[in-house]
């Protein structure tokens, strides 16, 4: 036990007050970057945030240079990135959500079993895995065997990232449901399958759906794994075996091309809007369907 030395009451009071002020100050300072970042993106991005962004594909570097020299706004938008993000993330959802649900149900139902503990630990391990390493994995599993970069490879990478988050949220949500739900269903003679699909999943819908939305918002802005898998494309592509762009990949391209630099901020603004919207909906869903 640490010994409290006799100190004057006044100096103890001062110390207490100072600590309180410091804590409030540093908490406030921790929030400041968020506002600066949002401010930066909005202030620089709103000018190019127009319909064109959604309807036209990325201009070539030469076209952009010509427009810049004439003092015109950069022609073109990020349609190829928007469709690419929809394709890659959509496919990743299709892969990870059913699997994540099943694994989550398994873990919540087999608590305490050795095998479930191992699976649970490995899920944590996957969740902590750096996204760039996941990119390497998808490269080795999909890009190499298929002989080229593809939307599918990107989706595999993103689904590996989403899987642990969905498993965790499903498991946590089902764990919070009262055991009586399941018992009542089984006591009424319902099959286990029916209990899961008609009672447990609907009751836990809010928590599970929130988890899925947050997982989507987390992978929406991922760039590094897509660089090694989907690569990018300057046209709209809906084929899963072809190289495909995504909004964050385009931001990376724009960052590296001085002629296209003006498009950075409007694309980032769109990305932030999508991510914050997903977070916001997740919050509402979580509140509305609270168990």
């Amino acid at each position: 036990m640490s010994q409290v030395k006799p100190i004057s009451f006044k100096s103890r009071k001062t110390k207490d007050k100072t600590a309180f002020i410091l804590i409030c100050l540093f908490s406030f300072l921790a929030m400041v970057p968020l506002f600066f970042i949002i401010w930066d993106v909005v202030a620089k991005g709103y000018k190019n945030f127009n319909l064109r962004l959604f309807t036209e594909v990325t201009p070539s570097s030469v076209d952009a240079l010509m427009a810049r020299m004439n003092g015109d706004p950069i022609p073109g938008g990020i349609l190829n990135g928007i469709t690419g993000s929809v394709l890659i993330v959509g496919l990743a959802i299709l892969i990870s959500v059913p699997l994540g649900l099943f694994i989550g149900i398994y873990l919540s139902d087999n608590r305490g079993k050795k095998f479930a503990k191992v699976i649970s630990y490995l899920t944590d391990l996957l969740q902590g895995m750096p996204s760039i390493v996941i990119g390497i994995i998808a490269y080795a599993w999909v890009v190499k065997p298929l002989g080229g970069y593809s939307a599918l490879a990107g989706s595999v990478a993103l689904s590996i990232m989403m899987l642990p988050m969905i498993v965790r949220s499903t498991e946590e949500t089902l764990k919070m449901l009262p055991a009586s739900y399941k018992e009542a269903g089984l006591a009424l003679g319902s099959s286990y399958t029916n209990v899961v699909f008609k009672i447990l999943l609907p009751s836990g819908f809010g928590g599970i759906f929130t988890g899925v939305l947050l997982a989507i918002s987390r992978v929406m802005g991922e760039t590094a794994p897509l660089m090694l898998t989907a690569l990018g494309a300057s046209v709209v592509n809906w084929k899963i075996t072809e190289p495909t762009s995504a909004i964050p990949l385009l931001i990376w391209d724009f960052y590296n091309d001085p002629n296209l630099v003006d498009l950075i901020w409007s694309s980032s603004l769109l990305l932030l809007i999508v991510i914050f919207l997903l977070n916001w909906i997740a919050k509402i869903v979580a509140r509305k369907w609270k168990i």
Binding site: S27, F102, L126, P130, S131, I136, A140, V167, Y255, W265
Partner: protein, 285 residues
């Protein structure tokens, strides 16, 4: 019958996590074979030579391992005062109050901002400040990336430790208050020691995040393939060198980059394991 099939499906899905993990390790290890045959594990880790020119090809990971450790630990150090303040704000001083919810939501939003946007912000807004502070001429380097990384990991470090602080039993604190302790004395002698292992675990997890962070660091660290010369110097982290050089790599270089990925995977796995053990100790106490 239907139930049996369903239960079997659930089991198969869970088994898939095991297979996935095994396949990940296998993919990384098998593709690192070339590097290990060429340099040996120890030789690759301890060599700082990274020369991709085909005539004098030579690869070693030491510069990147050190670059990763420098940036991650410095970022962790920078984030401590802020995340600890947020954790105390939410979990102790304003526990359960509306304002704590607001602060928590705002800080959580920091975790939602994509790495690449942090990179842009670091490049266009923080870098001029770093130049103005005269850290180095170009602004790029360990210092700049650590500052941005520190901001990125604040939410990870603060949310979990705030939760552990809020779980400190009230009767312990009330006991101290009744003895005449001031609030900061309660924090110092009761709350922080009681929640210590949980707080340590959340900082370890935040460190794991910082180690694997890719895009923002790639855009800010300067991308030089040598051992960083202190905080003012430029360098490369394991993640950033992969992001930078993977695209044009083949043969031995590709294998070397994948080996760096394997090392990064091992480091983060160990970090997560340590955090888990620390938390386990907590639940037994």
């Amino acid at each position: 019958m239907k139930d049996k099939i369903f239960r079997f499906l659930l089991f198969v899905a869970a088994l898939l996590i095991l297979l996935l993990s095994a396949a990940i390790v296998y993919a990384l290890v098998s593709r690192s074979g070339e590097t290990f045959r060429e340099y040996g594990i120890w030789g690759f880790i301890t060599s700082a030579e990274w020369d991709p020119r085909s005539a004098t090809e030579e690869y070693g990971a030491l510069s990147f391992i050190l670059g990763t450790l420098y940036t991650a630990f410095f970022a962790l150090l920078l984030c401590v005062p802020f995340s600890l303040a947020v954790a105390l704000f939410n979990g102790e001083y304003f526990k359960g109050k509306k304002i704590a919810g607001v602060v928590r939501s705002v800080v959580d939003l920091l975790a939602g901002i994509p790495s690449i946007v942090y990179g842009l912000w670091g490049f266009y807004t923080v870098r001029p400040l770093v130049i103005a502070l005269d850290v180095n001429a170009q602004g790029f380097g360990i210092f700049l990336s650590s500052v941005v990384l520190a901001i990125m990991i604040i939410p990870y470090a603060s949310s979990l430790s705030g939760e552990f602080l809020s779980m400190v039993p009230n009767n312990l604190k009330e006991g101290a208050y009744s003895l005449g302790a001031t609030r900061i004395e309660v924090v110092q002698h009761i709350s922080l020691p009681t929640a210590a292992s949980g707080i340590v675990a959340s900082y370890i997890l935040a460190l794991g995040r910082a180690l694997g962070e890719t895009m923002a660091v790639t855009m800010l660290i300067g991308n030089t393939n040598r051992i960083p010369g202190g905080l003012r110097g430029t360098g490369n982290t394991m993640a950033s060198v992969i992001a930078n050089q993977f695209g044009e790599a083949d043969g031995l270089k590709l294998s070397a980059l994948i080996t760096i990925g394997l090392l990064l995977f091992i480091i983060t796995a160990v970090i997560n394991l340590i955090a888990k053990l620390v938390m386990k100790k907590l639940s037994h106490a």
